[in-house]
Subunit: 425 residues, 2 copies
């Protein structure tokens, strides 16, 4: 294993790094939109110009990948080429084009005594991003943090160590060229677990921790951190086909949700079918799933429609398959569907297919999930699709941000009071 | 010490209590505003009717107070009488009259593909309130939680144990009479520290922890909890008197901020004076402070204006005096004032007094505090004064809520997507 990856862990150096990032973040917080946008456009240009260097670094990571026991899918996520770097640069330019949330003053009203009171949107300060093997997260997260006026500490996985360093070097050079303190984007120089643990204690220096990766990593970070954590847990997403659904629409939502991109968190994992529509809907649904090569694990009633359906266990209803597998259950009524979602769901994305107005309204109100969708694919629970322009992740934590987190989620609001000498009586 | 106070700690009972509160909270989440308001008005009536019982319980706490070593000021906060209970009932009726934040749909827009996307305000779920000696917090916090559709677990201090139980019994009876599950407001039956520690691990059952009390308690809770914590730390609040300030306005803001109610978190603790106005302002300011009996600890320059000023130490500039004591420093320029606030401030309430438009605009933008005030007393940083109608505390955490937390701060938003069968391509 490369010495620079496992690296020497030194808590004082890490604390100093976080303090430097905090200090540097103030320069970003005070920068106006034009200056931040110019910085982002320069980062995009520099990324394209540095393609050769970045690919050389990526080759070093790819060469080490077998030693880390990476699967083919993981190696694919790690691999960069000129086209992928071009796409990353394009997404940086897209973030530059988004509206800057910082400085917006809202709800300015006159209160008793004649003081004017409003709220001003401000950066959070310093964000710590903890992620695994995808090197593009280094650029995506840094650029979203900078645009929203924050500093960011990046702690990527060892698998992408050299690629991450190459990206961070480009961003650091752009920051310095624009007259910002390059410490505003700080890549942790070691992937040592003890270093991460130390970072998670720095509540004075860091305002928010965002872990992205496997459930184990997220659970570990949220249980260890003294700093607020926004979790991006799994998506056990349901499609509930109501008695009043149009079967062809339900089929389209099912196939899109399950097969469009099975490996992502907003893919469907379980289908719930009202018993009154089971006979009309399930045969065509099962045929369509079979045609797409989806393995079906169903309840007893589901199994009466096809011999290919294997019996579903309780674990299947809890599972985030992330694969061409689906669990199906026929429910006796709407409340049974709600109860199932409450028990097995992960507060991510929940879909109803119905043409019953009251039922649709009830579902929107009753279901506790970051996105509740009526007659639309679960795949729409995504920052780009929902109009945020970008996302740093999909929060399944209710505090601060619930669902896709765009630029505004990386800010908070302070109260602004404008008076003419008023005192309190 | 009363057996029921130190109580037997049983983690299974506590977990069951939290689960029951989670279950009960769903009934509140689905209740409409009319039903919640009727509940609150009934709680107010029942509080007045139960005055005798509540005062009897309060007498038990007051009798035990000397054994707990409570100061006179603490005993005064603990003491209830018919008038105070009447005031608590009035404040419950005021919360009933506030607009219900739950169910509001905002930012509904059509996105690509024709889906309609908006955000709906929803309750957080279950809040755990940890507080010390003031029994009225039991009612205030419960009522704010109920109005915003949440369940609440209340963990008060041992000093107010019997008073808290009397209040919780009234609320429980009102919940049951209105057809709600009384577990929606659950008072922890023991003040054992181990019980609190166990509660702070229940991340599946509790969505938010709000500690209110001394700095030690807040620090302990935030370092122990696995659940998100919103801290309500100290207020080291500054008044910066700019070169372009009107001396009479500055004096009024100073005296109001320091002496109106010295023991609260939005009272002034430090005065910063631009050197160009020091000669015109400080003599009158020092005279006005002396007249109010305020002890002054000042820098060398401040001391040239009065022999009564004692030298200020670094610790004085860090101090939250909560008393008739103020620290004063003359600064050479605006940036020195900013740097002082950044170093010694607690992100609570920061005031500038100036008639310079650019300076006022810069201060509003540059200062990182939950409330930044121009030509208005620091005492306005209060939920009632800022138009929230109520507050559960003043957050000095930036995540989720920064500054006074009203009903909306006890809610979050989920995405709502309304389609006509759209799938993602």
């Amino acid at each position: 294993m490369n010495q620079s990856v496992a690296g020497h862990f030194d808590s004082e150096t890490l604390t100093a790094m976080a303090r430097a990032c905090r200090k540097a973040s103030r320069g970003l917080a005070r920068a106006d939109s034009a200056r931040k946008n110019a910085l982002l456009l320069d980062i995009a240009t520099r990324l394209e110009q540095a393609t050769t260097d970045i690919l050389t670094a990526n080759q070093r990571d790819l060469a080490a990948a077998p030693a880390y026991g990476l699967s083919d899918a993981m190696i694919d996520r790690l691999r960069l080429d000129a086209e992928r770097i071009g796409n990353i640069a394009t997404s940086v330019r897209e973030v530059a084009a988004l509206r800057d949330p910082v400085g917006e003053i809202s709800h300015m009203n006159e209160q008793a005594g004649g003081i004017q009171v409003g709220k001003m949107r401000i950066p959070l300060g310093v964000i710590c991003m903890i992620y695994e093997s995808r090197p593009n997260v280094t650029v995506d997260a840094a650029v979203l943090a900078l645009k929203s006026g924050n500093g960011i500490i990046l702690r990527g996985g060892k698998e992408a160590f050299h690629s991450n360093h190459a990206f961070a070097a480009v961003i650091g050079a752009a920051l310095a060229a624009a007259g910002f303190d390059a410490a505003a984007v700080s890549l942790v120089p070691t992937t040592d677990r003890a270093a991460m643990n130390h970072l998670l204690t720095l509540e004075e220096e860091i305002d928010l921790v965002i872990p992205r990766g496997g459930e184990g990593l997220i659970r570990f970070v949220s249980q260890t951190s003294r700093i607020p954590v926004i979790k991006h847990y799994k998506g056990v997403c349901h499609l509930y086909v109501d008695a009043a659904a149009a079967p062809e629409m339900a089929e389209a939502l099912l196939i899109n949700g399950k097969t469009h991109r099975p490996g992502v968190c907003n893919a469907l994992e379980t289908l719930l079918v009202h018993r009154d529509i089971a006979e009309r809907f399930l045969p065509r649904a099962l045929a369509a799933l079979a045609e797409k090569g989806v393995e079906v694990r169903g309840c007893e009633q589901t199994r009466t429609f096809s011999a290919a359906v294997v019996p579903a266990t309780d674990a299947d209803y809890h599972a985030e398959f992330l694969d061409l597998i689906i669990a199906i259950k026929v429910v006796d009524h709407y409340d049974a569907a709600l109860a199932h979602i409450e028990t097995y769901g992960s507060n991510h994305s929940e879909v109803i297919c119905t043409n019953d107005y009251d039922r649709a309204q009830a579902f929107v109100r009753d279901v506790d999930a970051s996105a509740v969708l009526v007659n639309a694919s679960s795949r729409f629970n995504d920052g780009g699709q929902l109009g945020l322009g970008c996302e740093i992740g999909i929060s399944t934590t209710k505090l601060h941000a619930y669902g896709p987190m765009g630029l505004a989620s990386l800010t908070t609001e302070k109260f602004v009071v404008l008076g003419r000498g008023q005192i309190r009586h």
